[in-house]
Symmetry: C2
């Protein structure tokens, strides 16, 4: 059927808590648009749940009992354990994997995606590359634009570089799955793709704003976790509401200026979007980085022990982002322009007592 060939087709790459919440939204939305195929593929890393493959559970019970129990998925979301099979027809690729699996997954996909595919990344985190900071969206675009089997950075397997948008916001997966009102931000390079992804994600309870600032949106999602460590130290020290609000504010200001050093095209206005201020607030009041930083102060235990004990050994994203960002700043001799981030680094990695969180010179705060 030739008309179906011009339809956009969606593949969600990832099926954890957030990926499954997104599958519910996207699965419902696609049925409203004649230009989008109503079947949504979801690549699922296969595992057994009570002796049954997770894909089979999802495809028969329409529920991801392992990662988002209790939430009904639309029947048009189809779980598929084979990555290449899941993605091969897709024109709209949604990446929603833990950061550490991205490069490997993209290498596997390389040469197997549609030439007219567009991607959106819901992945949080930062890579480092030759002393610089590398955005996950760049990793995706780089890896998927290289010719298959090659490791050179200029692709000739594709004529164009894969366009990767970003989605980030104050988005706790379980609350969104329960259809509690929230907002999110999509940062686009190509406006047409931004609008396409807006339609794919926007609902009455999940309000999408699109902005032409993909780097800004992505950097917000990574840098906020460092600020959350500072907020956790404040909580651990029982310093109260004023102090916490001050640390959040100073953190947001430092995020804005760090983002400028990483990518001068980043716009200050993006920090007023859901991906900025709203996500920083949510992360500094809820969130695991805040929680573990509070425990770090109260128990005196090292982060490694707390990760083992409180996160089943998963690594905290705030500390690894802090390490990468502060190394980036140090190499450029910018550390003293960022007293809060530098203090958080020194508390996490240099044995500085946590009560130094409020003892730094007043930064120059307004840049607008």
């Amino acid at each position: 059927m030739s008309s179906s060939q011009s339809l956009e087709k969606v593949c969600i790459i990832g099926s954890g808590n957030w990926g499954t919440a997104v599958a519910k939204i996207v699965g419902n939305n696609v049925t409203r648009f004649p230009h989008i195929d109503s079947k949504v593929m979801m690549w699922v890393f296969e595992e057994q749940v009570d002796g049954t493959p997770l894909t089979e559970v999802i495809n028969t019970r329409h529920e991801n009992t392992k990662y988002l129990p209790g939430i009904q998925l639309p029947a048009n979301v189809v779980a598929e354990p084979n990555l290449l099979k899941a993605a091969r027809d897709a024109t709209l690729l949604i990446f929603v994997l833990p950061h550490q699996f991205i490069r490997h997954t993209c290498v596997e996909l390389r040469g197997h995606i549609r030439p007219n595919a567009k991607a959106i990344s819901l992945v949080k985190g930062l890579d480092t590359h030759d002393g610089g900071l590398d955005l996950v969206s760049n990793v995706i675009a780089d890896e998927l634009s290289k010719p298959s089997g090659s490791s050179s950075t200029n692709g000739n397997g594709r004529t164009d570089r894969l366009d990767v948008s970003i989605l980030s916001g104050a988005n706790i997966a379980n609350e969104i799955a329960q259809e509690k009102f929230s907002e999110t931000t999509i940062g686009y390079r190509i406006e047409q793709n931004g609008r396409l992804f807006h339609d794919l994600f926007n609902t009455s309870y999940f309000r999408v704003n699109i902005v032409n600032d993909p780097s800004g949106v992505e950097l917000c999602g990574a840098l906020k976790n460092v600020v959350a460590l500072g907020a956790g130290f404040v909580d651990g020290l029982d310093l109260g509401d004023n102090t916490k609000a001050a640390i959040i504010r100073i953190g947001l200001m430092e995020m804005m200026r760090i983002a400028q050093y990483v990518d001068p095209s980043v716009r200050d206005a993006t920090f007023f979007e859901s991906c900025g201020i709203a996500d920083v607030i949510t992360t500094c009041y809820g969130g695991r980085n805040r929680r573990i930083a509070e425990a770090f102060v109260r128990t005196g235990l090292p982060f490694d022990d707390l990760e083992k004990e409180m996160l089943n050994g998963q690594k905290l994203q705030g500390t690894s982002t802090c390490l990468k960002v502060c190394q980036f700043l140090r190499e450029r001799q910018l550390s003293q322009e960022f007293p809060l981030f530098t203090t958080i680094y020194n508390i996490c990695f240099q044995g500085l007592p946590p009560d130094h969180i409020t003892q730094f010179p007043l930064p120059h705060l307004s840049k607008m």
Copy 2:
């Protein structure tokens, strides 16, 4: 002594919880500056505390046992029950009274302040005047610039209009009195006066930023209380962290745009200062407006009853500000540009069910 005549002299007008916390800071700071008289007058509305006048308690025990118990005040802070006597030599007037006492106090002071006096207002709230919104700082400047005994608006008792700066920020008085770290913002019209007040208030634990945007700083302090009502409704409905962060963000964006309609000189950057984002956060997580709005949802009782029960009959500032602001918007046919403020108004005053707090059209959010 002629040299003492050129010294700046401070009078704090007000001695409640916040006024007393400020007296501690200012009393300590003045001793560090040779150009400021080390005696700080504090006008105290006289009342009896266990049979002793409050001024006598303050001047002998150096503690305001009624409004800030447990905090030692510097001995150079002198409580004075007579308003005119307290203020007559002052060149630096610090207004820190409940909003409803401002006009009356200024009328009493009119014609009795030094010609070279400068003022700073720590008062939160908004007045209305001929269908417009009137800032408290304008009330102070208007009333004190009129000739004594006159009610005309053009003063000739003073040759210049009294310059009034503004101080506002994420400032819970008890936490500051305990020297917990926080920030604040001073908005000035005349830079020299902004710097003077910076020196008067800034300490290592109470960090002052000065900005040339007095209206912006003052409007933040008034409008935030309306947003806090919205945050309280969210809490009462158990909508969770995402929703609350979204309401705070949308509220901040509406605050920015309302401020523009009240005074087009207001700068967006001011909303990134402590008086903006930090104070909104503090007020939406702590704060009485949030607390009573939550109780409004949970109990179904009217605000009047909740004020009587939870605030000893004191009036909530958020509801009265909401009423004034939404009337201002309605008269200008701007209500639909401000769906969150309008929804909060409709919930408070028009019987709209609180769960409509998340049911409004997506506003146009970015104006920067």
